[in-house]
């Protein structure tokens, strides 16, 4: 059993309340940071820990913090990105729902390190009940002197707010999040300038994922070096993985980075194997926007090495035979699942969530969705398969924000690894409908 740093106390009765959380050793990191460390000292610890962004891209957090511009007389902001909307990812929800004080503790320590006096938690609108949980926790923190003016007599002030969004996936992109927080339409900004220089209200801003900020708490408590001992190579620490799909035990698991993927799927500690004793077909290891892996590339990389749950190992082989750790939305497919239908479902999501600002993403996501829908309904053509790859290639890398890439990667990867299944959909539409929907019906005219 691996060490648990974040959700160790998640099952303790009443951990949502301040008293129980404090009894379990809560707010120690704030005490330690504010009383014994300088802001730069906290930053050094985070750098030493090798913590990488848990929201998807895996950018080193310490480096991100050190890029923050610090001009005189301009406020700085820390924003917590709780707009977790990726299909397959639900780890932040678990964390915020169970232990809201952990996030708040992380926010205080991180804000202190960055010198931010106002911080925001931008939470997606669909998590409406978590807004109340967080606000109650913030009230308790204010009442006990962890927030507000002159925290612990250190002279450091911090105000923390929860800002609910209106339910847009695109607002999880950091500049769109900032736009939305400013009260505008959530369109991503053109970079540069990066948020570290010009972010919220044209001030230097850092945007971090919920889990990243929560991970600062154990780093300060135990020290960065101790945290860096967990994991392999540049993937240090623990990671929350939200496992779903055809497995025996779906749920949120905290793993030490470096657990073999095979162990993660089949061990009773984690997913507990494939449901109903079926065979493994494919796996999406990091939320819907990362490339899908076929069964022969899940346990072993293309070189024959064992595939581990780390940033490096999962992306081994690039996009030809690898994927990404992403945000940790681990989706497992058994042999009965239809890859075309699944890809269409993802494409439909991206079509719906594209902001419509730049043309390749706006038009391309809709086009891909329509082509996949046609194929799924038995009207596909063989030329459609190559056309899908071509559309994906024309979107990828040509858009303002990464949503275009996120829409293109799963489609391109599905065609790359499961071309036979796409061809089967074209050649035998009735047979694939029988499998997918359990009934024989005539192909629908599109």
């Amino acid at each position: 059993m691996g060490r648990k740093l974040l959700i160790e106390h998640a099952q303790v009765e009443g951990i949502r309340t301040y008293e129980v959380y404090r009894k379990q050793g809560g707010y120690r990191s704030v005490e330690k940071a504010l009383k014994t460390m300088s802001p730069d000292g906290v930053l050094e610890e985070v750098k030493k820990s090798g913590l990488r962004g848990r929201g998807g891209a895996g950018f080193p957090t310490g480096m991100k913090w050190s890029f923050l511009a610090k001009p005189e007389g301009v406020p700085r902001y820390l924003l917590c990105n709780a707009d977790e909307s990726e299909p397959g990812t639900f780890k932040d929800r678990y964390l915020m729902e169970k232990i809201p004080h952990l996030l708040i503790e992380g926010m205080i320590t991180s804000s202190y390190a960055l010198g931010a006096n106002t911080s925001y938690i931008y939470i997606r609108g669909e998590y409406s009940w978590i807004v109340f949980i967080l606000e109650k926790a913030i009230q308790e923190a204010y009442a006990n002197g962890w927030l507000g003016k002159n925290i612990l007599g250190s002279g450091y002030d911090l105000d923390l707010y929860v800002a609910p969004g209106a339910g847009a996936y695109i607002c999880g992109e950091e500049t769109a999040l900032i736009e939305s927080l400013e009260g505008k339409r959530g369109n991503p900004r053109v970079k540069p300038p990066f948020p570290a220089v010009k972010g919220l209200w044209a001030s230097p801003t850092v945007v971090n994922n919920v889990e990243t900020i929560a991970a600062v708490v154990p780093i300060i408590n135990d020290g960065g070096d101790e945290y860096a001992k967990i994991g392999i190579g540049k993937s240090t620490g623990t990671k929350l993985i939200s496992a779903g799909g055809n497995i025996n035990r779906p749920g949120v698991y905290e793993i030490e980075l470096g657990v073999p993927v095979e162990e993660f799927i089949y061990s009773d500690e984690y997913c507990g194997g494939i449901k109903n004793g079926k065979k493994l077909k494919a796996c999406v290891p990091g939320g819907s926007s990362v490339p899908i892996l076929p069964h022969f590339l899940i346990n072993k990389t293309a070189n024959g090495e064992q595939r581990l749950m780390t940033y490096e190992s999962l992306s081994d082989g690039g996009f030809v035979s690898g994927s990404m750790l992403g945000s940790g939305g681990f989706i497992v497919y058994d042999e009965d699942q239809c890859i075309v239908r699944n890809t269409w479902n993802f494409a439909r999501f991206y079509r719906h969530e594209s902001c419509g600002q730049c043309s390749p993403c706006r038009e391309g996501t809709g086009w891909m969705e329509k082509v996949l829908w046609r194929m799924e309904n038995g009207q596909g053509k063989l030329s459609d398969i190559d056309m899908l790859v071509d559309i994906a290639k024309k979107i990828e890398g040509n858009t303002i924000c990464p949503l275009g890439d996120a829409a293109a990667w799963p489609v391109a990867a599905a065609v790359r690894h499961f071309r036979e299944e796409f061809e089967w959909h074209v050649h035998e539409p009735k047979a694939c409908m029988e499998r997918n929907y359990g009934l024989v019906r005539e192909p629908v005219a599109v």
């Binding site: 339409r185 600002q357 730049c358 390749p360 024309k394 858009t399």
Partner: protein
């Protein structure tokens, strides 16, 4: 002053110049097309992705090439930068892809569109577009809306460049229209079909690169290439009064602001000049306007009726 080389042409440009502006200083074929960038509107650009270029050398200090194609309208020039536009196959392919995306939901109703002949999308499709489409689905359509007495919004033709939104934000008193919805179903609109009512609203017609916003006082009156554009001015208390009148014989068919080579207006004109002053005596005609961007208009011969419909 930084030196930049675009497709082998070197130019010294002031600090803070974008690649697109530098290319325009050099001029000629190497200027990337721009559908959404508008130099006089703050914040415009980077949306249409037609101006993508390849930076083959970042700068003198850091000679690495940039990993992705960049939008030339937003990327600042660095000293020693080398850019490939028409010499890069990758750029041409990406641009052809963008044109395909832009035309995907465009109705291609050029034969009945008032913008035909001075439409940027037409020029772009002519230069980079494919002969046919691979899109086999129903295109998105919208109802035509009259926004105010002078402007017709034909959303079906829109390519969502956001230029008119910036005009409404920056040129007029209060914001009157914007984008509704998201993704490929987003649309330019006024909330609850409210009329656009202010002195400078007519400029949204000039900034629109396609025929989505057209002049209701000119709709279906004539094709632009049958008209003679003339530089003209008048004493106007509201605006500069400098405009182009489009004449057929002695009759003024429409009035627009003066657009430069790249279709950009620097002196915006007011609605009175644009829509209400159409008697020949209203304007002091300075002389013929040379139009070099749109070849079909430039072909018109002043003083003679060379083009007749057969």
């Amino acid at each position: 002053m930084p030196k930049v080389k675009i497709d082998g042409f070197e130019m010294e440009v002031p600090d803070g110049t974008t690649i697109l502006q530098a290319a325009r200083m050099i001029g000629g074929d190497i200027v990337p097309p721009a559908m959404c960038y508008y130099s006089t509107l703050q914040g415009s650009g980077s949306k249409c992705r037609t101006c993508l270029v390849k930076v083959t050398k970042g700068s003198e200090k850091d000679p690495r090439p940039m990993p992705k194609l960049v939008t030339s309208c937003q990327t600042m020039v660095m000293d020693g930068m080398e850019v490939a536009n028409i010499t890069s196959e990758e750029v041409q392919k990406a641009r052809a892809g963008v044109v395909e995306f832009l035309l995907l939901n465009h109705p291609l109703d050029c034969p009945i569109c008032d913008q035909a002949g001075e439409c940027h999308l037409q020029d772009l499709a002519f230069e980079h577009g494919a002969a046919g489409t691979r899109y086999e689905f129903e295109r998105r359509t919208f109802e035509k809306i009259d926004i105010g007495p002078y402007i017709k919004l034909h959303m079906t033709r829109c390519i969502l460049c956001y230029r008119c939104v910036y005009v409404a934000n920056q040129l007029t008193d209060n914001r009157v229209h914007g984008i509704l919805n998201r993704g490929d179903h987003s649309e330019i609109s006024t909330m609850i079909e409210k009329a656009i009512d202010n002195d400078f609203s007519g400029n949204v017609i000039d900034v629109c690169p396609v025929g989505a916003l057209t002049d209701r006082t000119f709709r279906f009156k004539s094709r632009v290439w049958f008209l003679d554009p003339m530089d003209a001015h008048r004493e106007c208390p509201t605006c500069s009064g400098k405009a182009v009148v489009w004449m057929y014989g002695n009759e003024v068919f429409r009035v627009t602001a003066r657009k430069d080579k790249y279709g950009e207006v620097h002196d915006f004109i007011c609605n009175t000049c644009r829509f209400e002053k159409k008697a020949p005596g209203d304007w002091v005609v300075e002389g013929p306007r040379s139009i070099d961007r749109h070849s079909v208009i430039a072909q018109g011969h002043y003083g003679q009726k060379a083009l007749t419909v057969r």
